[in-house]
Amino acid sequence: MRIAIVDESAARASVIQEGLASLDDCEIFVVTERRGLVARIGEIAPDIVLMDLGNPSRDVLEEYFAVSRALARPIAMFVDQSDDDAIAASIDAGVSAYVVDGLSANRIKPLIDVAVRRFNAFARLQSDLDEARGRLAEREAIDKAKRILMDSRGLTEPKAYAEMRKAAMDQGKKIAEIADAIITAHKLMGGK
């Protein structure tokens, strides 16, 4: 089976590709370029196209399928209504699947399942990464606020941190929020 993965995120495409590589009898093509998409799909002549829901070229590809339906390789949007659960799962995961008409459901199902799992795994990775980035940004803000307190009030580092922690507890806020407030106030007062 020839599978095209269309994704502007090369990282996600490779995560999906890796997952599908474990299936027998699959030839996988990854398309990350927006330009020339339709021509490239024409060359690949895939049996299945997987495309992320956030891809702005979905309308372009669907038009191509609609127009080329009269040609040799008719492609259906998704599978058919009998696969509603599989489709719903794929939409939830954020991936759309276009399948050549007539391909049997039992060949498609495992493939869609893998794609959905991989999409979900990638989304988890992404949110872990975002969280890690967020924590890093918080730590930077706290350090910066500490320095402001140390410079402006001649506090030691542990004392500056203790003051911020106390303010956070008193106001029921996170230390990072107190740090942001200190940085903002400092900027407004003409600091750098």
Binding site: L53, P56, R58, D59, V60, Q81, I91
Partner: protein
Amino acid sequence: MAEELTIGFLPLVDGCLPILAREHGFAEDEGVSLNLVKDVSWATVLDRLLYGHSDAAHMVAPLAIATTLGRGRPAQPLAVPFVLGLNGNAITLRSDIAQRVGVDGKLGDPAQVGAVLAEVVRERVAAGNPLRFGVVHRYSSHNYMLRYWLAACGIMPDRDVEITTVPPPFCADALEAGEVDGICVGEPWNSVAVERGVGQIVLATAQVWRRGVEKVLALREPVLNEKRGAVERLIRAMCRAGRHFVDPANWEANAAILARAEYLDGDPVLIRRAIADQLLLARGGEIVEYPDFMFQYREAANFPWVSQAEWLYTQMVRWDGLTFDSADAEKAARVFRPDVYRSALIGTGEPLPGASSKVEGSLRQKTSVSTQQGTMTLESNAFFDGRVFDPSHLAEYIAQLG
């Protein structure tokens, strides 16, 4: 507790009414809380609607009919209780072609522009390199307006010119790269192409059909039935948003809201221009005012006239090469739900037309019409070629169009 409704939208100026209903608290006042989900393709807006991620969606009108008739996806009946606006699109050509066919410094006459364009089309066909146009979706008003105009000027789409799909954010790129020679798209995307100096606006779609249906609010029919109360409250909130949107006192503030990252993520100056019916046709030129370029409120603009749904069906038959089918025509007509609009607004100050269908393109001047509530004067709703669409003779209309 306010009932929650999730609405999908694409970042376009005409997605304004649900956004403003939320931002100005009009929805909250009606006891409905709106959750807005932004996407970047109509395919995804539609999928979210069909698989329950959203309750309602900002949608190109023909797509609601295509989905009901099972064109492209398995058929699912959609319902349109509210039209989000009329027109608001323009046709932008690559600058060299625009200069040849356009009238310097103002919008041209559609028939005259079309006549000169036909010469360009013939040259390009003879050279084996036919003109290519980009539209935002196969089932969009843009596609049908562009095709209507071209065909009426003797230029046959798919034979003399190619028409292909280009997502709005890439329209300016596609013009610049020479992938297309012209685009028919909503704002702010024509203006983006103009500002970048890659194209010039030659026509507004409001010149092709003075009161052409554009975006709609679409729901799955079962969802409409299930959440009927909340939908009616949403309709009242969006009517109020429409009144706010067209008031010049609010243009600046509304442009700033729409420009925000979570909505259009665009330039407030360009958005304000569209709201104010102002167009910069060519870079470095003067701004031109074209009244009713966008049409979001007056004359019960949001009323889902059944005749509009039927007109869209005739165009679908015409351009998809279908055979007219009276059962399909009926299904298409039933997508537009004036009954829901009426029951939402009865007892409010909004005018309600007496009829649910009208002869489109028949008015040449201001005309008072009978109403169920309030008073209403309709202005010209003409097609540029003078043709009239009588919804009681669909098959004959299609046959006449050829």
